[in-house]
């Protein structure tokens, strides 16, 4: 998500497009990417090289080409649309490309860049999203089982404030700067006249360039990217909500779409009972125990169930008293002689 517009925020668009390209390179298809951009750079009248958006690399890598699919462009990038995409509360007329069609086995990467402050991120210079809103959106996603694990990367000033309020499980967050610090941009391009990238994303991209679908690099390496000497701001990260050890989390779990394919020469007969099927697995298989949703965190602790609605009934004493009174009034008015007809 790029939350800025206007020519001087070129670098945010370039950031986003560069991450988009890396993620596509590592195997995630456009149908699985929701790209939100102001998209006013390539055809901006101030762009000396129209129909292009350059990132840092050699100043010659055009990250805006024929195969960039922007899902939410220009004025559609709003806080409301962003939250609707995350939580899935989308009007039925929305096309599939604009929806986040994730389920409880999906790992989601969210990359946001723009202008931010302590606890908020500015959208399109007219509205803001707060860290509380974002945390609540993620909680909604958790409760609606819209993610398995979530990696949240933010490259803005005081970015660490945006992940302070998360409380849903299985979220890992990275930010380009701590509260009180500004994220700085990388060097400008004198030909284009604006800064082309932000420092943090520049170094993250440099890091990502070495990743290929089979690499075993884990998250701890990503946390080391862009130390203070290079980035001037102190990047931060948050892993306390995450179940697995970051050491064991592969970069490609989030940035790429890697299928574990085992080629076997044996024939496996698929029986109707699954117990028999699992026992036929070859023993030297990479032992991944299937991550069941329920085991990750006790559901009852997270999803606070409403107590079962008990119907209220008026107390017996009241009913007795009321009807006794009514009968007394009746007999007082009409005389006691009717009593023998009733009983």
């Amino acid at each position: 998500v790029c939350t800025s517009r206007f020519w001087f925020n070129y670098r945010h668009v370039a950031n986003t497009l560069s991450v988009y390209r890396s993620v596509k390179r590592l195997g995630i298809p456009d149908s699985h990417i929701v790209l939100m951009l102001a998209d006013d750079m390539a055809c901006n009248p101030r762009n000396p090289k129209p129909a292009t958006v350059f990132s840092h690399k050699n100043m010659e890598l055009n990250v805006y080409g024929d195969d960039v699919e922007v899902d939410y462009r220009s004025y559609e990038v709003t806080v409301e649309n962003f939250l609707r995409v995350l939580t899935g509360r989308i009007p039925p007329s929305t096309p599939r490309s604009k929806r986040l069609l994730s389920d409880d086995r999906s790992n989601i990467l969210i990359y946001m860049t723009g202008h931010g402050g302590n606890g908020f991120l500015k959208f399109q210079d007219s509205e803001e999203i707060t860290n509380v809103e974002l945390a609540d959106a993620f909680e909604q996603m958790w409760q609606k089982r819209r993610y398995n694990e979530l990696l949240f990367i933010i490259d803005t000033c005081q970015g660490a404030s945006m992940y302070e309020r998360f409380y849903s499980p299985n979220i890992m967050a990275l930010a380009s700067s701590q509260v009180g610090e500004d994220s700085l941009s990388h060097q400008p391009d004198l030909g284009i006249g604006v800064h082309l990238m932000d420092r943090y994303t520049f170094y993250v991209l440099e890091f990502l360039e070495e990743i290929h679908p089979a690499s075993q690099t884990n998250m701890n390496d990503l946390f080391q990217v862009c130390p203070k000497s290079l980035c001037v701001s102190t990047p931060g990260h948050r892993t306390d909500l995450f179940q697995r050890d970051p050491q064991n989390v592969l970069i490609t779990d989030f940035f790429g779409s890697v299928r574990k394919v085992e080629i076997t020469t044996e024939t496996i007969s698929l029986d109707s009972d699954s117990a028999g099927f699992e026992s036929k697995f070859p023993k030297d298989e990479l032992a991944i125990e299937p991550l069941r949703y329920a085991e990750q965190l006790p559901v009852a602790q997270i999803i606070h169930q409403k107590p079962k609605q008990k119907d209220w009934h008026p107390p017996g004493g009241f009913i007795l008293g009321l009807w006794a009174l009514i009968i007394m009034v009746f007999f007082k008015t009409y005389g006691i002689k009717h009593m023998k007809h009733i009983f």
Partner: protein, 435 residues
């Protein structure tokens, strides 16, 4: 007389059933003129839902009904429409029977006074005959059931209809002469909305009259009977309130119901006079003005009791009218009740002076209420002053109606005893003026 009554009832039930099924039902239940914070159906449903969730319905500022209503609707909530239609029918039948009896009493009294030669010789045309009085009960039932105000109130399922039923039964019990039942129903009516307390005086006067106890302050039997009736009334009230305690095992309902009626915290616009005034008032003075406004409701009882002690049923009518004009959250359902009595005084027709202007004012204001509401709230081209102006005009119309009937009644009484052609001391024609 039963057959025409049944016909009227059937027509009324059909009209209500038809409206329930139409799309107007939702529109009407939203109208502020029909549903006030005290008796809106939405709030009853909300209160019962809160109770199912284990929360006391009086804990917020939503629910202001009494525990007996909770009990009633707890079992009947699915049949709400039937309940309201039945209450309307019961009210109409009760009023029918009451007025039938009242006519007999009036006729007897008239006969007695004629035989005692209390009437002037030339007032033959003012005497009520049984022929013209024959259809009055039917007209009363008709006026109540087919009054657009009642129909709207029923379609909106406002619990004002239940209050009207209790009041109608109270009137029936009083006119039949049963002090015990009358006290019980009056206690129920007071328990539900505080203001029928003022109806204690006319009921007492009627029962005294019926027992032929003269109303003299020194008379022992007068005080004895008054004490008896007051004791019956207060005991039933206390018993009902204590019984309501046992429904939810808390006294929460007292501030929610009576505190709410008396202190008027909710200033949603309605057809009454309280909301605008208190919306503009500074906090500093609001207690003072709340007291003033509430005293205004109760205050008219004493002078009216002194003036109308011979005519307690008319007093009751005027009192009900005053309650529905000056109460803190009036709705059109309250108005429908006293309007149902108008046929009883149809013999006053020749003395009424403002019929045309009154009917115009009332009809036009009723039609303008939704128009100005729409202009104020939805179109934004009017403001609350417009709606308040219509409220004021409507209430002035009602007050004019009541005072017109009051004057006509007193004038007729005067003519009955002094003859139709009034002359002053020197023989010229005199005019009767209400001072």
């Amino acid at each position: 007389m039963a057959a025409p009554l049944v016909l009227v009832v059937l027509v009324a039930v059909t009209v209500r059933a038809a409206l329930y099924r139409s799309s107007l039902a939702a529109f009407i239940s939203e109208r502020v003129e029909v549903a006030s914070p005290l008796n809106a159906w939405k709030r009853v449903v909300e209160g019962l839902a809160l109770l199912d969730l284990g929360v006391s319905p009086y804990s917020g500022a939503i629910f202001h009904e009494t525990p007996l209503i909770i009990y009633l609707f707890h079992f009947l909530i699915e049949y709400a429409e039937l309940v309201f239609m039945i209450t309307d029918v019961l009210t109409a039948v009760a009023l029918y029977l009451a007025i039938q009896d009242f006519n007999k009493v009036v006729f007897k009294k008239q006969k007695l006074l004629i035989e005692l030669d209390k009437y002037a010789p030339d007032v033959a045309e003012l005497i009520q005959t049984p022929m013209e009085m024959h259809y009055i009960p039917l007209k009363v039932a008709l006026f109540y059931l087919l009054n657009p105000y009642t129909v709207m109130s029923c379609v909106a399922k406002s619990t004002c209809a239940i209050n009207n039923t209790v009041l109608a039964f109270f009137i029936l019990a009083t006119i039949k002469g049963s002090a015990f039942l009358s006290a019980v129903f009056l206690a129920l009516a007071t328990y539900q909305s505080l203001y029928p307390l003022t109806l204690f005086a006319p009921a007492l006067l009627y029962l005294l009259q019926r027992q032929f106890i003269p109303i003299k302050l020194k008379s022992k039997s007068f005080w004895l009977y008054t004490m008896q009736y007051a004791a019956l009334y207060l005991c039933s009230l206390v018993v009902i309130i204590c019984l309501s305690f046992f429904l939810l095992n808390s006294w929460d309902f007292i501030p929610s119901v009576y505190g709410f009626i008396l202190s008027v915290p909710d200033l949603t616009p309605n057809i009454g006079l309280f909301w605008y005034f208190f919306a503009e008032m500074f906090e500093h003075f609001s207690l003072f003005f709340v007291c003033v406004f509430q005293i205004n409701v109760f205050f008219y009882t004493i002078p009216l009791a002194i003036k109308l002690k011979e005519h307690p049923v008319f007093f009751m009518f005027v009192q009900i009218a005053i309650i529905s004009i000056f109460k803190s959250y009036p709705t059109v359902g309250d108005i429908a009740l006293y309007m149902a009595f108008l046929p009883v005084w149809s013999h006053l027709y020749r003395f009424l002076r403002n019929i045309f202007i009154l009917s115009c004012v009332l009809i036009v204001c009723s039609l303008l209420f939704p128009v100005l509401w729409h202009l104020w709230i939805y179109a934004g081209s009017a403001n609350s002053n417009f709606y308040y102006a219509i409220t004021l005009t409507f209430n002035i119309g009602q007050i004019l109606l009541v005072s017109d009937y009051f004057y006509a009644f007193l004038r007729r009484e005067y003519y009955l005893t002094h003859g139709l052609h009034l002359t002053r001391q020197d023989g010229t024609e005199a005019m009767l003026v209400l001072k």
